[in-house]
Amino acid sequence: MARVVVDVMPKPEILDPQGKAVAGALPRLGFTGVTEVRQGKRFELEVDDSVDDATLAKIAESFLANPVIEDWSVRRVEP
C-alpha cells in the first residue's frame, strides 16, 4: 500500500476566478503582501503496490484533471 497525492492546478495562462477571488479578499481582511493566488485541488489516493505509475498518470489525466485547462502532477508519499 502507498499513499499517492495528485495535485491539479489551473494552467498558468488560464484565468483562475477562484484564486482571484481569494487574492481580492485577503487585503480586505487585513492580510497584505500576497500578490497572487492560484487555487487548485489535491487528491489523496491509497493504492495497492500493483498500481504502476503509468496507471496513476492515466487516472490523473483522464479523470481527476481536465487536461484542456488544468495541469496535474502525481507523487507517491510515505504512508
Partner: protein, 762 residues
C-alpha cells in the same frame, strides 16, 4: 528575451523585407499575405501579421459569406426598416418597440470551443453575447440557447451535453440573467461538432443607443474590465515560437490552449459599471472585446470613426509575464470592454470604474489622420490603415454548386415507409415518439437554468416562446423564440430556412406578441465545399425573401462555417430568432390548457400528408429524404394577426404551435404543461396517422373559452383562415383521449415524455 532588439518594429520590418513569416500557420493564404504587403508597402511586423490574420479569419471578416449576406440589405425595404434603429454591421441590431423603449438582440455561435471544453466553451459563449448587448448601451435582460448535439445515446454526447448545459447555466445564472428559451436537438451529423448558439436580448431607452465608433480627435481610449492574459490566443502562439526559436518559453507557448475561462462575477459588475457610465452620458463610443480581442476592438473602433488612433500597448494590464505585442493584441481574455471618452470625462469615467472595482486604464487616444498606430517599449509595432484590418478584408466569391446527391435525396420520399395502422399501432407510435430524444421533455436541461431571476419573466420553457416584461408600469414586454429544423434545410435549404423563420414567427405569435425583427445564427459546413456554399446561398435567400413576405427585417446575425466532422458537414442549420412585442404582457397566451373550464380546442391551419423529413420518419425509420412541408408565409402572417387579435380581445386561453411530431406531440404537451386532460376528435375524412404525425406548417392548436368560440371562429372564417373544431378540454378525466385511437392517462404520458433525458444523462 525582453531585450529591445527582439521587438519586430515597423522600422525593423522595413529593413528586413525577406524575413520569413509564418502566415500559413496563422491561416492566411498566400495571396492574402501578398495583399497585406501591398497595403503596407513592406512586410508586416509580427504584431500586424497577428492582427490581420485574426481579423481576416472567416469568423471576423465574413469573407466567404459577405457576397451572400448583401442580399439581406438589398431586399430590406424602407417600410421594414421603419422601426430599426441599428442593423447589420453593428454589435447587435436594435428595434424601437414603442413607449420610448428600444430592444437589442443577437445570437452568436461558440461551437468549436464548446466541443474542446464544453463547460467553459458554452459559458464564454454566453458571456460574449451578453457583452455584445452591453456594447449597444442596453441592459441585458434574458438569454436563450440553441443547442445541437450528436445522437443522444452516443458516448461523446454524454461528455459534451452535460458540460455545455452546466456552462450555459453556470454563467447565465451567476450573471443573474433568466434563460427563457432555446432548443436542444440531436442528430448524428453534430456528433463531432456540436452547435452552441447563445442569444441575448437587452433593452434601453431609445435615446441611450450607443454605437461603436471612435470619433473626436483627442478623445481617450480606455480599456476596462479584466486583465489580458495568454488565454485563447491559439494559433498566434506560432509567432512566439518562430521568433524566439531556441528560447525555453517558446516550446511552452506552442501548446497554449485556445480555450478561455470566464468569470461571470467580473462580467456582472462590468454590466452595472457600463450602465452607470451610459447613464452619466460619458461614453462617446464603446466596443466589447470578443474574438480577436484588442486587434478587433481597436481596429473596428478606429475604422468606424472619423480619425486615427494611437495605442500605447505597454499600458494594457497583463495577467501573464513576457507577453509579446502579438499575443496582447490577439488575446481573447474574457470580460473586457473598450471605450472612447472625452478627455474632460476621463476622471469621472475612472471614478465610476473604481467604484465598481473594475480595472480601467487609458491605453490610447483618437488622433488626426487615418492610421492605427500601436507602440510597445518605445517602438512602433503597428502602423496600419484600420479599415484594411476591420472592414476591407478579403472577399471571396466561393464556388457554389448544387450537390448531385440533392436529386437523389429529394426523390427518396417517405411514402414508401411503413405507416402504423389501427389503434394499437398508433398508440404505440405516439408513446415511442413523445419519448424520443428530440421530442421528449427538455426539463432535465432547462431546470438547470434560472428562468425567473429579475422577476420579469412571463413565459419560459416549456412554453413555445420566452416572454419578458420590460416596462414594469405599462407591462410592455418582448417575446422571443429561436428555431431551425436542419433536416428540412438538408432537403431544401431555401424552403428549410423559410420553415425555420415561419416556425420561430409562429412561436412568437402564439404568445400574442407582434413580431418586429429577426436575427440569425447560420451554422454550416466548410465554405470551401461548393455544395455547402449552395446550401448557404439558398438559406440566405430563403430567409431574406421570407422576411420580405412577413414584412420584418433581419437586424443582425452570425455566420459559422466549417462545422463538420471529417468530410461530413452538419445538417445546414440556420437558426432563426424572432423578436415580438407585447404592449402588455398580462395578455400573453400560455401554452398549457386548463385556464378555464370547458375550453374548446380548435386546430387552425390545414394538415396535409407531409411526412418527408419528419420526426416520425427519423425516429421510426431513420429516414431522411423527400420534400419538406410547403410553406405559406401569407398564411403564417394571417395566423399571426388572428392570434394577436384573439389575445387582445381575450378570446384565446391557450395556444401551442404544431411543429416536430405534429398534432400528437402538440396535444400531449398542451395537456402536460397545463396539467389538464383533453379529448381530441379526429376528422373522419382524413387518415388518423397523417392527422396525428404530419408536420405541415402554419398550424396552431388553440383553446378558446366556450363563450368565445362563435366569435373566434367567425373571425377565422371571415378572414379566410381554415379551422376545425378538434376537441374539448376535459379537466375531470386526467387523461388524453384521442377518440377512436387511444386514451392515455396524463401520468403515463408524463412518464414517457419526461423520462428520456434523465435516463440518458443522469
Amino acid at each position: 528575451m525582453t531585450s529591445v532588439s527582439v521587438i519586430d518594429s515597423v522600422s525593423q520590418a522595413a529593413t528586413t523585407p525577406d524575413t520569413p513569416q509564418p502566415y500559413r500557420e496563422l491561416g492566411l493564404a498566400e495571396d492574402e499575405y501578398a495583399r497585406i504587403r501591398e497595403i503596407l508597402g513592406r512586410r508586416p511586423t509580427e504584431a500586424e501579421l497577428a492582427m490581420y490574420s485574426v481579423m481576416w479569419s472567416e469568423h471576423c471578416s465574413y469573407k466567404s459569406s459577405k457576397v451572400h449576406l448583401k442580399y439581406f440589405g438589398e431586399t430590406t425595404t424602407e417600410e421594414m426598416r421603419a422601426k430599426m434603429l441599428a442593423g447589420i454591421g453593428e454589435n447587435a441590431g436594435v428595434v424601437d418597440i414603442g413607449d420610448g423603449w428600444a430592444v437589442t438582440f443577437k445570437a452568436e455561435s461558440h461551437n468549436h470551443p464548446s466541443y474542446v471544453e464544453p463547460y467553459q466553451g458554452a459559458a464564454t459563449g454566453v458571456g460574449g453575447i451578453v457583452r455584445d448587448i452591453m456594447a449597444m448601451g442596453a441592459r441585458p435582460l434574458a438569454v436563450l440557447d440553441s443547442l445541437r448535439f450528436g445522437p443522444a445515446d452516443a458516448p461523446d454526447t454524454r461528455r459534451v451535453l452535460p458540460g455545455v448545459v452546466a456552462g450555459v447555466g453556470g454563467y447565465g445564472n451567476c450573471l443573474g440573467l433568466p434563460n427563457v428559451g432555446g432548443e436542444v436537438v440531436f442528430d448524428r451529423t453534430y456528433a463531432g461538432n456540436p452547435l452552441v448558439n447563445a442569444l441575448c436580448v437587452g433593452a434601453m431607452r431609445a435615446e441611450d443607443l450607443h454605437l461603436a465608433h471612435a470619433s473626436g480627435v483627442g478623445n481617450k481610449i480606455i480599456l476596462f474590465g479584466a486583465s489580458t492574459g495568454l488565454d485563447g490566443i491559439g494559433g498566434v502562439s506560432v509567432l512566439a515560437s518562430e521568433s524566439f526559436d531556441g528560447d525555453e518559453s517558446a516550446a511552452g507557448r506552442k501548446k497554449l490552449p485556445s480555450v478561455q475561462v470566464g468569470d461571470p462575477f467580473t462580467e456582472k459588475v462590468l454590466i452595472e459599471c457600463c450602465l452607470e457610465l451610459f447613464g452619466r452620458g460619458i461614453v462617446v463610443g464603446i466596443q466589447d472585446l470578443g474574438g480577436a480581442g484588442l486587434s478587433c476592438a481597436t481596429s473596428e473602433l478606429a475604422s468606424a470613426g472619423d480619425g486615427g488612433m494611437h495605442i500605447d500597448l505597454d499600458r494594457v494590464p497583463l495577467r501573464a509575464t513576457g507577453m509579446t505585442p502579438a499575443e496582447i493584441l490577439s488575446s481573447e481574455s474574457q470580460e473586457r470592454m473598450c471605450a472612447v471618452v472625452k478627455p474632460s470625462d476621463v476622471d469621472e469615467f475612472l471614478a465610476v470604474c473604481a467604484k465598481w472595482d473594475v480595472q480601467a486604464t487609458e491605453i490610447g487616444v483618437v488622433t488626426d489622420g487615418d492610421r492605427l498606430v500601436i507602440d510597445w517599449h518605445g517602438e512602433t509595432v503597428v502602423d496600419v490603415p484600420p479599415r484594411t484590418v476591420a472592414h476591407e478584408g478579403p472577399v471571396y466569391q466561393r464556388p457554389v454548386q448544387r450537390p448531385e446527391k440533392q436529386d437523389t435525396l429529394r426523390a427518396n420520399g417517405s411514402a414508401a415507409l411503413t405507416r402504423p395502422s389501427g389503434a394499437a399501432e398508433l398508440e404505440q407510435t405516439l408513446l415511442r415518439m413523445i419519448a424520443s430524444p428530440n421530442l421528449a421533455s427538455r426539463s432535465w436541461v432547462t431546470q438547470q437554468y434560472d428562468h425567473y431571476v429579475r422577476g420579469n419573466t412571463v413565459l419560459a420553457q416549456p412554453a413555445d416562446t420566452g416572454v419578458v416584461r420590460i416596462d414594469e408600469e405599462t407591462g410592455r414586454g418582448v417575446a422571443i423564440a429561436t428555431d431551425c429544423n436542419g433536416r428540412f434545410c438538408e432537403l431544401d435549404p431555401y424552403q428549410g430556412a423559410q420553415l425555420a423563420l415561419a416556425e420561430s414567427y409562429r412561436n412568437v405569435v402564439v404568445s400574442g406578441a407582434e413580431p418586429v425583427a429577426v436575427t440569425n445564427c447560420l451554422n454550416f459546413g466548410a465554405a470551401t465545399d461548393p455544395g455547402v456554399m449552395w446550401q448557404f446561398q439558398q438559406a440566405v435567400r430563403g430567409l431574406a425573401d421570407g422576411c420580405v413576405a412577413l414584412g420584418i427585417p433581419v437586424t443582425g446575425g452570425n455566420v459559422s462555417f466549417y462545422n463538420q466532422t471529417g468530410d461530413t458537414a452538419i445538417l445546414p442549420t440556420p437558426v432563426i430568432g424572432v423578436l415580438g412585442v407585447l404592449d402588455d404582457v398580462r395578455r400573453r397566451i400560455p401554452t398549457g390548457i386548463g385556464a378555464e373550464a370547458g375550453e374548446t380546442l380548435l386546430l387552425l391551419g390545414e394538415t396535409a400528408d407531409e411526412l418527408d423529413g419528419s420526426e416520425w420518419a427519423h425516429v421510426v425509420h431513420g429516414h431522411l429524404g423527400g420534400t419538406p412541408p410547403k410553406v405559406d408565409l401569407a398564411r403564417e402572417k394571417l395566423l399571426g394577426e388572428i392570434l394577436i387579435a384573439g389575445s387582445r380581445d381575450g378570446m384565446i386561453s391557450a395556444a401551442h404551435d404544431l411543429s416536430e411530431g405534429g398534432l400528437a406531440q402538440a396535444a400531449v404537451e398542451t395537456c402536460l404543461i397545463g396539467e389538464t386532460g383533453a379529448r381530441i376528435i379526429l376528422d373522419p375524412d382524413q387518415d388518423p396517422f397523417v392527422q396525428l404525425f404530419a408536420e405541415s406548417a402554419g398550424r396552431v392548436l388553440v383553446a378558446v373559452p366556450r363563450t368565445e368560440e362563435p366569435r373566434f371562429t367567425e373571425m377565422c372564417t371571415a378572414r379566410g383562415l381554415p379551422w376545425r373544431k378538434t376537441g374539448v378540454v376535459d379537466a375531470e378525466s386526467g387523461s388524453l383521449e384521442i377518440q377512436g385511437v387511444t386514451t392515455l392517462s396524463l401520468e403515463k404520458l408524463r412518464q414517457a415524455w419526461e423520462g428520456t433525458l434523465p435516463r440518458l444523462f443522469d
